[in-house]
């Protein structure tokens, strides 16, 4: 029962005072770019790192003083699959069962059930070093489940996975929630948080910049827009006149028009361009992504700050 996690601490200013509140049985997502402090947060909450100041309670236990009790109620699946590569899938799971001191029959039963549930039966006796990225993550998560944790920390569970393995992982997470497990998910993908989380907190440079349900967050983002590219300055200028609220870029001949991306508004937009006989070379619908979220919430996008450092480096 995750009653609530609160902390305010500094860790080489990786995390600069953070308050989180996760309700038991829900999925909470910490969203942020690389280096924003997601993994550090997970490491602190999972007792791997000590915080400098602040307090945190996981499953009702104090992370600093009731470390053992915290450890026995959580499971962690990190960014880099922590499986034993020299052991087979089955042996990896059996190792976990042994370490949880599950007695002979019970351990084997759980191992078999997890192999089946995660569709690893066929490769159960092959060394995990031969597994694909997706299979390794599945094995990793299965190993976490051996101890029947109440709370599972998933640190970027789909980073580096192909789209299909990603979907599989999402379905597994949904099943876990259905089983009543609390999920603490970190991700750098907005769509992942959007798909899975009941509540999202956006982390940037060690500070929380926004918190809320996916809907609340998306309302704060200026939203999707349509991007139009023209063959010359004349049609661009003409389009600016007939499309209110649009922002032109004279250099690249691109016009940004706010739009919700729905078929009705798109048809209306195209009709209007037709009406004034304005020729468009290229038409793209741009849905909000993490970059937009950051742009909206922090006033600078991740990509932009990267390109600045590049310039400085030169």
């Amino acid at each position: 029962m995750a009653s609530g996690l609160k902390k305010a601490y500094k860790d080489k200013v990786v995390l600069d005072g953070i308050d989180l509140d996760v309700r038991a049985g829900t999925t909470f997502s910490l969203l942020g770019p690389n280096g924003s402090g997601k993994t550090t947060t997970v490491n602190v909450l999972t007792t791997l790192l000590k915080m400098d100041s602040g307090t945190a309670r996981v499953a009702g236990y104090d992370v600093a003083t009731e470390t053992k009790k915290v450890r026995s109620s959580i499971g962690v699946t990190g960014q880099f699959a922590s499986v034993d590569e020299l052991l087979s899938g089955r042996e990896n799971l059996q190792l976990m069962a042994d370490l949880h001191h599950l007695r002979g029959g019970e351990g084997t039963k759980i191992v078999e059930r997890l192999l089946e549930r995660f569709d690893l039966g066929e490769s159960a006796d092959k060394r995990s070093s031969t597994y694909s990225g997706g299979m390794r993550r599945k094995l990793d998560l299965a190993m976490t489940l051996v101890g029947r944790p109440k709370i599972i920390f998933l640190d970027e569970p789909t980073t580096g996975l192909d789209p299909r393995s990603r979907r599989t992982m999402w379905n597994i997470v949904r099943e876990l929630v259905a089983d009543g497990i609390t999920i603490f998910l970190t991700t750098q993908y907005l769509d992942e948080a959007d798909n899975l989380a009941d509540k999202i907190a956006v982390l940037n440079e060690g500070k929380l910049v926004a918190e809320g349900t996916p809907e609340q967050l998306k309302r704060q983002i200026p939203g999707s827009h349509v991007q139009l590219r023209f063959g010359g300055v004349a049609p661009l200028d003409a389009a600016v006149r007939v499309l209110p609220g649009s922002t032109p870029d004279q250099e690249s001949l691109i016009l940004r028009v706010p739009s919700d991306g729905g078929n009705k508004s798109l048809r209306a937009l195209l009709d209007r361009l037709d009406e004034y006989a304005i020729e468009v070379e290229e038409f793209t619908v741009h849905l909000p992504d993490l970059d937009d979220v950051f742009f909206a919430l922090t006033g600078h996008s991740d990509a932009k700050s990267e390109s600045t450092t590049e310039v400085i480096a030169r």
Partner: protein
């Protein structure tokens, strides 16, 4: 806690068996070295009375201990650099078990290597003059040494930043027997090396074992061997614990 160590020991031993290089380094390589020194060079060395194999066997036991260690350093380092250590740390597993598991599996593997060398030595005419008690004393000294260098090697593995450098840390332990009385008596070496060979730990250990196997225990060297081993074990243990606690 001890059952966690046993689980870790089983895991590490499985690793060793699945790693042909480790098995080769730990068991085959010392045998090859022994055959080289005893069969190929042996007759060229004048070490005084008796068959060369009787002189060389204690030194070869020392080499057998040293050769397998790189596998342990690499295994410890790979545990630390991959994610698996975090999994163990987050689980309610005794943290010491991860290290004691490595020490135990190293001792097991090294003891096997030592037993193999003794077996091969007998095949090639090794004729010790030791009583049962002398054999027990030999086993005692060797086990203490193995225990000491196992902890030191675990500490090496924890101190190394990468797996590649971890193996390199154990090179001194492989080289030291060459600069000891393992192959020829220290008194026959050149100046500088001679003094080094006389006072380094492996010479004491080898001379102690040699004394027991010849049936004439060398009490001074045995005491020195025990002191060295206890010292190495303490340094290894303290170093390993502090490195382990520091690495998140």
């Amino acid at each position: 806690m001890s059952s966690d160590s046993a689980i870790m020991l089983r895991r590490n031993f499985k690793h060793t068996l699945r790693n042909p290089v480790a098995v080769f380094n730990a068991i085959i390589m010392p045998v090859v070295m022994m055959l080289m020194f005893v069969y190929v060079f042996g007759d060229a060395f004048n070490v005084g009375s008796g068959d060369y194999i009787n002189y060389a066997t204690p030194g070869m036991l020392m080499m057998a201990i040293g050769y397998g260690l790189s596998a342990t350093a690499i295994a410890v380092s790979s545990d630390m650099t991959r994610g698996i250590i975090n999994r163990f740390k987050v689980m309610d597993v005794s943290r010491a078990a991860v290290l004691t598991g490595h020490v135990a599996s190293t001792m097991l593997r090294t003891t096997l290597a030592v037993a193999t060398i003794i077996g091969v030595a007998f095949l090639f005419g090794f004729s010790p003059n030791a009583s049962f008690v002398h054999w027990l004393a030999t086993a005692g000294v060797l086990l203490l040494v193995i225990f000491a260098v196992s902890w030191l090697t675990v500490a090496f593995g924890l101190a190394a930043k990468t797996q590649e450098s971890a193996g390199f840390y154990t090179v001194p332990l492989i080289m030291l027997p060459f600069f000891s009385s393992a192959i020829v008596p220290a008194a026959k070496m050149g100046p500088g090396v001679r003094e080094f060979a006389q006072y380094q730990p492996f010479t004491s250990i080898i001379e102690s074992v040699r004394g027991f196997l010849n049936g004439v225990p060398n009490n001074g060297q045995t005491l020195a061997a025990i002191a060295w081993s206890v010292g190495i074990a303490v340094v290894g243990y303290v170093w390993a614990r502090s490195k382990f606690n520091k690495r998140a």
